[in-house]
C-alpha cells in the first residue's frame, strides 16, 4: 500500500473515531425525528416549519426543506407557544405540554425524567386521516395525560 493511501486510511480512521462519539446523539435524534416525520407524510420532498434552531442543525437530510412560514409546510415541529398559521397541518411538539396548546398537534418528541419519549395521540391522528404505521404502534395513546 502506498504512503498516501496509508495517510488517507489513517485520517479516515481518526476522523471516524473522534467524531463518532460526539455526533452519535445528533444522528440518533435525526433518525428518530425523520421516522416520525415520514410517518405523517409520504411526500418525497418534505417542507418543514420549525421554531427550533437546534432542529434545523439536526435535520440535514436532502429530502427536508425548511420553510419560513408555517402555512407553507407539510409538517410543523414546535417547541414554543404562540406560533401562528399552524392550524391546518400536523404538528409534532418538542414539549409534551404543547400537545394541549396546539389542537392539531398529533405527536410529541420530548424529554422527561431524564429520558427521551415519543407519543402519538390516536384521536388527533384519526381526525387528520393519518396512520403512523406499525413501527409506532406502541407509542400511540388515546388521550393526553
Amino acid at each position: 500500500m502506498s504512503t498516501p493511501f496509508r495517510l488517507v486510511f489513517f485520517l479516515n480512521c481518526l476522523f471516524l473515531i473522534t467524531t463518532s462519539l460526539a455526533s452519535d446523539v445528533v444522528k440518533i435524534e435525526n433518525k428518530i425525528i425523520m421516522n416520525m416525520i415520514q410517518s405523517l407524510t409520504h411526500n418525497t420532498n418534505i417542507s418543514i416549519y420549525t421554531d427550533s434552531k437546534r432542529l434545523q442543525k439536526i435535520l440535514t437530510d436532502n429530502i427536508v426543506n425548511f420553510v419560513p412560514v408555517c402555512s407553507d409546510a407539510d409538517v410543523a415541529i414546535l417547541e414554543t407557544k404562540h406560533v401562528k398559521n399552524c392550524n391546518k397541518l400536523p404538528i409534532i411538539t418538542l414539549k409534551y405540554e404543547l400537545l394541549k396548546t396546539y389542537q392539531n398537534s398529533v405527536g410529541s418528541f420530548f424529554w422527561q425524567k431524564g429520558r427521551p419519549n415519543i407519543v402519538f395521540i390516536a384521536p388527533r391522528l384519526k381526525s387528520q386521516n393519518i396512520s403512523v404505521g406499525s413501527k409506532f404502534d406502541a407509542f400511540v395513546e388515546e388521550s393526553i395525560w
Binding site: 471516524l16 428518530i32 425524567k113 427521551p116
Partner: protein, 624 residues
Amino acid sequence: MKKYLFIISALYSTTLYASDDNVLNMLEKLRQESELHHQTKKEDAGIVTLYTRDDLVRMQAYTLNDVLKSIPFFTYQEGSVTTSSIAITTNPVSYLPNFRLYIDDHEVSSTYFGTAFYVYGDMNLGFVDHIEVYQGGNGIEFGSEPSLSTIRIYSKTPSRENGSQLQLLTDNRASASGYLYHAGKNEDIEYSAYVSANHLNRDTIHYNNNELSKDSDKSHFLITLKNEKFNLLLSRYDSLQDGFLGLGSKKMPTGKNEIDKYHQFLNASYHFTDSLKAYISIDDSSSQMDFHEENGYNQGTGSYFRSEWDENIYKFGLKGDKKVDQHDIRYGLEFAQKELKPKSSSYDNISTLNINGPTKLDIYSLYFQDTYQVSNNGSLIATLKLDGYKDNDDADNSVDPIVRLGYMHRVNNEYKAKLFISHTYLYPSFYYTTTYSGRTHINPLLNPVQINNFITEITKSRKNYTAKLAIMYANFKDGIFFNPASKKYENNKDSSYLLSTSFTLEYKFDLFNSFYFNVYKSENSNHTEYSPDLGATLRLLNKYDKFSFFNEVVYRSGYVSVNNTRIDSGYDYSLGVIYEYNKKLSFNFKAENVLDKAINGPTTLTDIQSSLDRAFMFGMEYNF
C-alpha cells in the same frame, strides 16, 4: 488495499448506521448516549467508577450508602454513633480523611471532622442524576483541597426532567421516606426544587438490659436555578440521629441519646465567558449531641454529656480554561475560610467549655494544569497547585504544594492506558488539632500527611464490554496515629505504603441487560489489615417486558480492627424488582442484605454492630 477499504467501509457503516430501526431501541440508545456523565466525567482525574442514572434507578439506590457500600478499594462502615464512613483498603494510616464529596460544583464537608459522611451518608438520592467516584487522584481538577478520592454527585438537569416525581417508600420496620421533585425550563431559566423526608427505623439492639437505637429522621431541601450566565444551588439538610452506642466507656447509653445537626449552603457562580467563571459559596452547619450514660465517660465525670458547635465555610474563586494550539490549560485561584464555633460542652450541666487549638483556618490556593496533546493518540498532563494555610492559633502558617505528572495514551481502538505520578498531602481537620470539651488527645502541632502517589490503568474496550486493570501505589509520610504513650495524635515519622490492584469487567448483553464485576486486593507495608484487603462486587441488571431486575453481591474480607477485634468477612446480597405499571407509575421492591451476612462495623462491640440491616423495602414512584 482491499483489506483497508473493507475496514474503512465497515467503520463507516457501524458508525453511521449503528442503531437499528426499532424505535424503542433508538430511544434507549439516545438516552444512553445523551447521559450527563458523557459531559462531566474526567478521565484525567484518576481511576473513575461511574454510577449512571440508569444504574442508580435500577439498583434502587435510595440513599448514598447504597452506593458507598460497593465502591472499589473501600468498605462501608457505621461508627459507634452510627455516622457513615468508608474505610480505605487495609487502612495503612490510622486516621486518613478518605473522601471529599461534591454536590454539583459544591464541596459539602464537616469542618470539624473533615468528612462529609458525618452528615450526608444516608442522604436520599432523589435529586441525583449520576455519581462519579475518582480514586487515586488529588482533587485538583475540582479546585478543592486535596484528597485521595473524590465523590461527585450531579443533580438532574431540569430541562431533561420537565415534570414532577413523587416517590414513597416503606420497609419491614415501618420506616417511611419519600421525595417530591419538580423541574422545568421557563424561557431561558432552568429550575428544579426537591424536598425529601425520611424516618428510618433500624434494628434495635438489646445489650446489657439496654435498648440501643439507630433510628433517625432526615430531611433535605434543594433548589437549582441556572441560565447561560448564572448558576445557583441552595440546600439544607437536617438530621436527628439516635446515639446507638453513645460516647461512654461502657457503651450502655441510657435515656435520651441523640445527635441533632443541620448543614445548609448556598453556591452561586457567574460565567463571564464559556471558559471563565467566578464562584462564591457559604456553608453553615450546626451540631448538638446529647448523651446519657450512667457509667460515665472517658473524658469527664457525670452521666449526662452535652456538646454543641457550629461550623462555617466561606469560599470564593475564579476558574478558567484556555486552548492554545495543542495545549488545554486550566487554571484557578480560591480563598477559603473555615471556622469552628464551639458553643457549649458540659457534664451534668456543669460547663467544661475550654478551647485549645485553632478554630479558624484561611486557605489560599492557586493552581495550573496543562494537558498537552503530544500526538493524535497521546497527551501529557502537568499540574501544580499551591495551598497556603494560616490558622488563628499560629500553630501553622505553611505552603503545601501538589505536583502531578501524567500521560494518557490510546494504543488503538481497543486499548488505552493512563499513568499518573503525584505528590500531595492531606491536612488534619479540627478534630485532631482542636478541643473545646476536655478531649485530651488533640495536637495543634500536627503536620499534614505527605503522600507520593502512583496510579496506572489499562482499559480494553469492545462493542459489548470494557475491561480495566488498575494499580494504585501510595507512600505515606507523617501519617496521623494515636500514640498510647503520650495519649495524643501524632505524626508517624516512619513512612508506609499501600499497594492495590483492581480488575473491573463491564459486559453489556444488549441495551437493557448488563453485568458489572470488580475485584481488588491490597497490601500495606505495616502488614496490618485495619480494614478489608480483599473485596469484590458482582452486579446484574436485567430487563424483561415491564420488569427491571437487580442483583448485587458485595464481598469484603475479614480483618483485625484498630482496637484488636477480629472482624469476620462478610457479603451483602441485595436484589430488587421494578414493575413499570405505565409511563407514570411504577412499583418497587428491594431486599437488602438478604442473607444478613454483610460485614460488621469496627466498633468495640463488633458482634452487635452490623453496618447494614437486613431490610425489605416497598415503594412506588409517580411521574406527573
